[in-house]
């Protein structure tokens, strides 16, 4: 049996969208980008995909990567990116009932899907999603699936039923070991995710995702209820008023800035 890696990815609003172009949909309580800005695969999830592909590179022919994503609707050319990067299968958990789920519900949906997928060795997730910045679903999944959970990995090595993970920790690094199956979250320190090559893109075009609806997962509807009530989403008011220091030229501005900081007793 090849090593089976499941990577959970989320389609998110492009976090590079300038803040000034974003607005809040008060009804749905979420941010919306201008119509011409397409969504992206959450950046840290791409790092997780890259981590999976590196394991696959190290064990040619012996790794299967299934990508899992949960949502109401998907932009197919976006959500297929992991396939074009080299993953084997895409399973979409797609249902109107999966719109705007909170972390609690999302983890339950993903856990149900992972159980339905059958045997697996590693679940990889991005360290957090760039929309709600929760970093909750992976640990939730680990609890629901009864897996050891390791977060913020910059290097993942699989050795004989064990995984060795280098983590980024404040002030240094830490190497931990867990037995498989395990859940691991990946950070950007792992390195740039690879760009899809032409062959990958062609292969992805041919692949059709498997689509599962809520009914296919046999989920208790109560688990889709939010555990955290989102009351309001708002953009905080900016009240700072910058004082721009002028000068004859750029060097003079630099000098005057230093004098200003002295005057303000900051240096």
């Amino acid at each position: 049996m090849p090593l089976h890696i499941i990577v959970c990815v989320k389609q998110v609003l492009d976090p590079e969208t300038p803040a000034s172009a974003l607005r809040i949909d008060p009804q749905l309580r979420r941010m919306v980008a201008p119509a011409n800005v397409p969504p992206v695969v959450n950046g840290f999830d791409e790092n997780a995909v890259e981590a999976a592909l590196r394991i696959k590179d190290a064990r040619p022919g012996d790794v299967k990567i299934t990508v899992l994503s949960c949502g109401k609707s998907f932009a197919m050319e976006v959500i297929k990116k992991p396939l074009s990067m080299g993953c084997d299968e895409l399973v979409l958990l797609q249902d109107n009932a999966f719109d705007n789920l909170d972390a609690f519900a999302t983890a339950h949906v993903l856990a149900a899907a992972i159980k339905k997928l059958g045997a697996f060795d590693i679940v990889l997730c991005g360290r957090q999603a760039s929309d709600w910045d929760q970093a909750q679903v992976p640990q939730g999944l680990a609890q629901l699936l009864g897996l050891p959970g390791v977060t913020i990995a910059k290097k993942v090595e699989v050795t004989d039923k064990k995984v060795r993970v280098e983590r980024v920790v404040p002030g240094g690094r830490e190497v931990v070991e867990a037995s498989l199956p395990a859940l691991i979250t990946v950070t950007n320190e792992l390195g740039q995710p690879r760009y899809p090559n032409l062959r990958g893109i062609m292969a992805a075009t041919r692949k059709q995702p498997v689509v599962w609806k809520a009914g296919d997962l046999g989920l208790d509807p109560a688990l889709l209820q939010p555990a955290v009530e989102l009351q309001e989403l708002f953009i905080p008011v900016q009240e700072k008023n910058v004082e721009i220091i002028e000068g004859e030229d750029d060097a003079d501005k630099g000098r005057k800035l230093a004098l200003k900081l002295r005057e303000a007793k900051l240096i």
Partner: protein
């Protein structure tokens, strides 16, 4: 559920003393407990705990300090602490559980909430509790700090992780009295499925970035690693530390432990001098506690000018050497 009582803080220690974030949480815990007319407890776990850490916790406002000393706390810190905290929560049934949004807390908070089957308010910067029944209401930055979400928890215990430096630590008062209760949970080795094999420090010498009163930060506009030499000299002159944006760390110009921001370090200096940093919300998320931000940037439309108190619109190549030279003269002249 009606028998719930008290605010439980999941504590952390640092070099044998209470970690600053735990002091901040105790301040918040006290204000919540006052409203509820309930008590504050903290749980501390380590392989070996110093008596000072428990004394610190009491001085910052804990009425009860639960201590757990166990070898697994060193080997598998998150899992061991989670097992202990889960047990304490089930036994003592607190109304509120507060966890620091630290490396360990980021794992422990969700782990605990899912084990208890309750929601978690993650990475909060405001936490209020009008009445026990109405639930806990928290504000948390979302979308990289572009927006804020007000969220409510309705099922007890209310579990929240709190962003470090979002709350001021309370006055330390060594005359306060409290009780230290040593717990001896039988922690079975089976709880420890993630084992630490190796820890290595990669901190730069000098002032720690998180603690520095002055920080000089460099961004992608610096164009390469070389200008960081000038930033280091400037920081040294001001008794501060150097930080960077993620773009700079991703480019490999400086190591990742320089990174300030949402997924980097949180700083709260008196003075944060940014050079060629655009001020993306994810960067600003790590320095919202900075009291004075200064921007050297050539683009007047950069977001950093919305966050700064003083700024110059200039090419750093010209402005920075002159700035640094003048700072040097001013510092030398006393």
């Amino acid at each position: 559920m009606s028998s719930t009582s008290g605010v439980l803080v999941v504590g952390e220690t640092q070099n044998g003393r209470l970690a600053p974030v735990t002091a901040e949480l105790l301040g918040l815990a006290r204000s919540l407990a006052r409203g509820l007319q309930e008590q504050v407890a903290v749980v501390l776990g380590a392989e070996k705990l110093s008596p000072e850490a428990a004394a610190d916790a009491i001085a910052y406002g804990a009425e009860t300090v639960y201590t757990v000393e166990h070898a697994l706390m060193e080997q598998s810190p998150v899992e061991a602490m989670l097992a202990v905290v889960e047990r304490v929560v089930r036994e003592k049934t607190p109304t509120v559980v507060l966890v620091g949004k630290t490396l360990a807390g980021s794992d422990l908070g969700p782990g605990l909430a899912f084990r208890l089957g309750v929601g978690l308010a993650q990475d909060c910067i405001e936490v209020t509790l009008d009445s026990k029944e109405k639930g806990l209401v928290a504000v948390r930055p979302v979308y990289g700090g572009v927006a804020m979400a007000r969220v409510a928890l309705k099922r007890m215990p209310y579990v929240a992780t709190v962003r470090p430096k979002a709350f001021d630590p309370p006055q330390r008062d060594t005359s306060r009295k409290g009780e230290v209760v040593a717990l001896n949970p039988s922690l079975d080795a089976s709880v420890a499925r993630v084992r630490v094999l190796e820890r290595a420090s990669e901190e730069s010498a000098g002032v720690r970035l998180e603690d520095a009163r002055v920080v000089v930060g460099g961004g992608r506009g610096l164009g390469g690693p070389e200008p960081f030499q000038m930033l280091e000299e400037l920081a040294k002159l001001l008794g501060g530390a150097v930080g960077a944006s993620r773009a700079v760390c991703d480019a490999g110009w400086v190591p990742y432990h320089y990174q300030i921001g949402l997924t980097g370090k949180t700083i709260a200096p008196d003075l944060y001098i940014t050079v060629a940093i655009s001020g993306a919300s994810q960067h600003m998320a790590g320095c919202s506690g900075a009291r004075n931000i200064v921007a050297i940037n050539k683009d007047r439309d950069s977001n950093i000018f919305k966050e700064a108190r003083f700024g110059v619109v200039a090419d750093w190549k010209k402005a920075l050497p002159a700035f640094a030279e003048t700072v040097k003269e001013l510092v030398k002249s006393g």
